[in-house]
Symmetry: C2
Subunit: 441 residues, 2 copies
């Protein structure tokens, strides 16, 4: 039986058995799929330390829903034991009234830590860092440093990356626990530490911070205030979560929708519709341009109805070529392979790519077009249009993400649907101009 | 002056100054943008330990290109100092002859380590793990364990995650260096270790491994062979790189192109065209279906040419709605929020989302259509078509990724361009059937 079945039948023995053999990630995943009212049933059967592990693996929305089903004492215990940065994330999602109640149940120390984090702007390094960081001094010996870590390291988020500060708490270096453990106990921390140390400012964007952690292969990144004083540390697990969230956002935008705030199955049908409706409306308004264009050429169309047959094929191909180049350029920008200033470089490359692709499609389409309409001039029109539209679309598709970035927007809003829609109208103009010239109408 | 300018002018003093103030990531990024022949110039000016850091931050293709510009002794030294898993990645990209030469220059120990990794299948955990892992025994004391780490930990990839094995090297638990440092030196490792330990099989797919590291917030994951014996460890930095690569692949596929193997600027124009041409051809062949459909309804079109005006708008909207739901479902599958078996659940949700969106668009489009064609029946045709096409596209867009996954394909191949193209032909059929009924032709 699956876990939801066990919960539905209220078979406590079998459920306890299932919980004992599953790992915390599996339990968290199954909990998220249970009806909200049933989630507390298996959760209460977990031993205390496993319960915390499972709780930490839940999405903040699911954490909040679960808390509503637990007794007050359990809630206080769970929230007290969370890391301050995870707790800040949870509290952030709660209605203000519940948040106040939950924070009120905390020890003064833990409450202060969370309040500090919530004081920083959204999406800043300050919001995701842990203020519980162990710092060393350059004039300590390795033995002293290890003693300090044993004394105060128990509650720190990480002791693997150790910032070194001066007397004003300003960051002067860093070293890893590894260096300490492998070094002679009498060495000075100052001789061992790396003076070239990556750090983030507390108001820096969290995506930049996460990307730095990834690119420099760090386990944690010290965070400093505007005066260079150490205030916290961001760990690699937070970096991975941030990158995944940013990724989900980019992917949603690339598909022409706003990102979901909660897991798919926890988002209502109306919520799903809301993430899509705005773009869909914008796009249909943009698409009325194609009606204008076609009305402009209505007499041409009236004379040669056969021209209508290739409208979807021609504009569809333009849309596809545009999506391809937009996707490639947007990704290259996201991972830092391209810079917003590389416009000319990209245009020159993509123009050639577009010509090559357009040329191949034009050649491919010539004979099949003759099969549909046995008129060589019509085949020439379709082939020439494919060549032009493909080149045009590739150029537009690569330029728009670069321009968006230069203007300070997320390049991902230059989505495949938006580019297709923009290319549709221009593609039709090109098609009819070529047709009028070649067919002489 | 920028770094490329300094290189172009061969200004060694200014270049040395620039290198001294830049961090290794910046240097690697600028190197990757220099002409291949010039890259060795700044690289040779770097002190030895920084040179290795910069080298490790380069893409494998750029590493290989750089090696060609260096003297044999420097090449040997650089490659000898790399971690075995990074070296395996580099060698993997080289032409066989150069790879043999480079491996031949290594010490027997390092050569053996790399050869082991290269023996595992591509994209498996074995390919990305480091065989240099420090394992502990359950009956050791903490003091003994720390002594062992000091003795052999220097060359290990990580000493932060420490697998515990029995006498047959079978994995029985794990603990972090943190636990050792914070514990009483006389405690037994067996009493301290976590017996519930995540691990990967050596032949397991690297994306699964990376996702487990991310979801369980691990710094490293032990890798075992088919008999459960410890053979290596995968670290979190490799997990981040793997997830980024998989992400780049998914994003490219979602845009209807194959992923680039090398950074954008290092891919030739022909190489770019090659990643896109196959899909573009497949899609244009699929698009001929629209020509067929239109030919089928050519007499209808001949009677009411005004019907042609709304073709791009109607099928474009269908394509957009389909892209949106495909993107949402594909992402939910990728991050594990949906399972391939959730078909019915998703269909019921998306059908309702499609009806809501279609209804809103139908209402929105009614009056503007009257402005273009002052015939109420025509406005009814367009509105009804939008409602039907939107619902249909939303359903198709959500179903296809789920079906792809169940059939064992990457759901990302159900790209926005593919779904648009498929929806185009069906959308046209719906449009003309509605038109024939309402306009009575």
């Amino acid at each position: 039986m699956t876990m939801p079945d066990l919960v539905a039948t209220r078979d406590v023995n079998a459920l306890t058995e299932w919980l004992a053999q599953a790992d915390p990630l599996e339990i968290a995943e199954e909990l998220g799929r249970l009806p909200v009212a049933d989630r507390a049933i298996p959760f209460r059967l977990l031993p205390k330390d496993r319960a915390l592990e499972v709780f930490e693996a839940l999405d903040p929305l699911h954490q909040q829903e679960l808390l509503q089903g637990l007794r007050e004492a359990s809630v206080r215990e769970l929230v007290e034991d969370m890391d301050p940065d995870d707790r800040a994330r949870l509290v952030d999602e709660m209605p203000a009234k519940i948040a106040k109640q939950v924070l009120g149940g905390l020890s003064p120390r833990e409450r202060a830590l969370t309040a500090t984090l919530l004081g920083y702007p959204e999406n800043s390094a300050g919001r995701v860092m842990s203020p519980e960081v162990v710092n060393l001094k350059a004039n300590q010996t390795v033995a002293d440093a290890l003693a300090r870590i044993r004394r105060i390291g128990g509650s720190a988020e990480t002791i693997y990356a150790l910032p070194v500060t001066d007397d004003e708490r300003r960051l002067v270096g860093a070293l890893g626990l590894r260096d300490l453990v492998l070094a002679d106990p009498n060495t000075q921390v100052g001789d061992l530490m790396d003076r070239e140390v990556y750090s983030a400012r507390v108001d820096q964007d969290q995506e930049e911070v996460a990307r730095l952690i990834q690119e420099a292969d760090l386990l944690a990144l010290p965070v400093v205030d505007t005066e260079g004083r150490l205030v916290g540390i961001v760990t690699v697990d937070d970096a991975m979560r941030i990158l995944e969230e940013e990724q989900t956002e980019d992917v949603a935008r690339a598909g022409g929708a706003e990102p979901l705030e909660h897991p798919y199955l926890s988002t209502s049908v109306l919520g799903l519709a809301r993430t899509r409706v705005v773009w869909l409306m914008v796009l249909i308004v943009a698409a009325t341009l194609t009606v204008n264009v076609l009305q402009l050429f209505e007499t041409t169309l009236d004379k040669v109805v056969a021209l209508a047959l290739f409208i979807p094929l021609v504009i569809g191909t333009g849309g596809n070529a545009g999506s391809q180049s937009a996707t490639t350029v947007t990704r290259a920008l996201a991972v830092g392979e391209l810079r917003p200033t590389d416009v000319l470089l990209v245009v020159l490359r993509e123009a050639r790519v577009g010509l090559i692709l357009g040329g191949m499609l034009a050649a491919l389409a010539f004979l099949p077009t003759l099969l549909f309409i046995p008129d060589q001039r019509m085949a020439v029109v379709v082939s020439l249009t494919l060549l032009s539209v493909c080149t045009l679309a590739t150029l537009v598709g690569s330029l728009l993400p670069l321009l968006a970035r230069r203007l300070g927007f997320d390049p991902a809003v230059m989505s495949a649907p938006l580019i297709s829609t923009l290319v549709d109208a221009t593609g039709l103009v090109v098609y009819f101009l070529i047709a009028k010239t070649i067919l002489d109408i």
